[in-house]
Symmetry: C2
Subunit: 323 residues, 2 copies
């Protein structure tokens, strides 16, 4: 299995600059934000989102170097993502993320709400200062989608009637919108044609959906150590993902367990067993596969380059994690 | 005493349209947001901020009608203000605001954080769709200032060394920035000269500071019934405002009480008494007076009109509330 970071070779130096810049940008106004920024933009993150932006920038600026606006867009993408994680942790009262204490548990509710607000606000401000209205619109849409996705997920808790379409729609809001719109924005900053911009959007959309489906499968197939949270956490909290929705068609008793919100002892364990016995996880794998393949088709419109290859590898890598 | 709303006569019809639009705009995506929007944009609010935007729009578009972009700016202004109130209530764990239950106490922490995020996100999105980069930049700055102001207020709790300048700076971030930048933006949408735009900014800045100082005085002079919260609430939470900072110069023992965070019985009552006995409240009144007067000077550059008069009256009204 290829580690994610080795996929980023063409933009490794760019990502180092980005990490330093982010700590500077976020931390320079307040000591408490500096502490939060150190924590947030330190060693932990995988920086997949800015890496995609930078790879698209390089793959669309073949002859020339990428611009400072491409770099700023990559930073904004990571800021938006981080802001949404900080607020998600407040909302879900999470103590840990990726094995690291959350801002919410380290600094309290108060600072976590404010730090998230500040990161969102700062990303809007840097966005406006990119001086490109189209890009401002694309990324503002993302911030709205993130909030809408989180609200929708809350409303759909323990609802066994939601369709795979509703699930994909929510996954678009929560994960794919940011990758899709920032991929397109990176192309726009390179002055690609409107057709290419749409292909970049669709690359990001399908890649983001594949990411989310794979993450949701891990909730059932990974160990506590790799996940950094107990197996079946999503299911327990009523967040019904692809494996569950597929399994429901096969195992009617699953519906009973979910609708009583695992109230009786052994309910959650029994539900996890039913899902394992079903074709749900396999069908979810096929769905992830489908979206990853579509992603590679859309990115194929770019001229060949080391960066384009890295973007194709990214889609393959997502799937490789499943086997 | 003139009720605030009668100042709004020239834009009364505009404000009714605005109230309907806001409920529509915010509520149309999710039932829970619709409930929150009904609550937030219902009868309660004074709508001072959008009224100022609409009055400036009318005062700068004398011959023509105001545009849909002016109306949208007024709506955005109220959305940003409301979003910041929703998160302030989460951060401060407030149960009531203006005698009405907070979103946080009605719907829970979770929905309050998300509803605030959604309102901020939606305002950024509508902002981008005004198609005016200068306006986008001005209002993004506001969202950043609001977060920075709240953080600064948190950091300065019980710090008796802060100066009146620090206090005014924080008040600018928390209150005046929104009024100043949206006043300027309203002028920009009417194509005023850069000089006039600066005067509008300064009108809003001084008016906003006067507003905040008057509000801070009310924490000491009002009754529980008018305030909707106990007298001395700011002081108790360590938020040191103009009357306290002025009183500190006169009553050294106040410092002792504040620095031990009113730990001993009777400390808060004694501190309130010391402030009442000092010239602090009077000096704060003079400071509010000074800023309100500066506001009227800056707005005087506009040609005479019913709307300009309403903007002048607004500054006088702020002060009239004190006597």
């Amino acid at each position: 299995m290829t580690p994610a970071t080795s996929l980023f070779t063409p933009v490794e130096a760019d990502l180092r600059i980005l990490a330093d810049n982010l700590k500077q940008l976020v931390g320079n106004r307040h000591p408490i934000l500096y502490a939060a920024a150190e924590h947030l933009f330190g060693a932990g993150g995988k920086r997949i989102r800015p890496a995609i932006v930078l790879l698209i920038a390089r793959a669309t600026m073949l002859e020339q170097d990428i611009t400072s606006r491409h770099r700023r867009l990559a930073e904004i993408t990571e800021m938006i993502h981080t802001a949404s994680l900080v607020h998600d942790d407040v909302v879900d009262e999470s103590q840990m993320r990726r094995g690291v204490s959350t801002v919410h548990s380290l600094f309290g509710n108060r600072i976590a709400v404010l730090a998230g607000d500040f990161l969102f606000a700062q990303s809007s401000w840097y966005l406006a200062n990119l001086d490109n209205l189209e890009v401002v619109k694309l990324l503002s849409e993302v911030i709205m989608d993130l909030a809408a996705g989180e609200i929708q997920q809350g409303l759909n808790r323990f609802d066994t009637n939601i369709s795979i379409e509703t699930y994909l729609n929510k996954s678009y809001y929560k994960t794919a919108s940011l990758i899709a719109n920032s991929s397109k924005a990176a192309g726009i900053l390179s002055d690609v044609s409107p057709e290419t911009a749409e292909h970049l959007y669709n690359y990001g959309r399908h890649l983001g959906l594949a990411f989310q489906i794979v993450d949701d499968i891990f909730d059932f197939t990974s160990s506590v150590e790799t996940l950094g949270k107990p197996v079946g956490s999503d299911l327990k909290s009523g967040n019904l993902t692809a494996p569950v929705l597929f399994a429901l068609a096969e195992k009617p008793y699953l519906e009973v367990l979910i609708e009583r919100e695992f109230a009786q002892e052994g309910d959650l364990e029994q539900a996890l067993r039913l899902i394992q016995e079903s074709q749900g996880i396999q069908q979810a794998r096929e769905l992830a596969d489908h979206h990853a393949k579509l992603a590679t088709e859309h990115i194929a419109v770019l001229p060949p380059s080391e960066s384009r290859q890295a973007l194709i590898n990214m889609a393959n890598y997502v799937l490789s994690r499943l086997y």
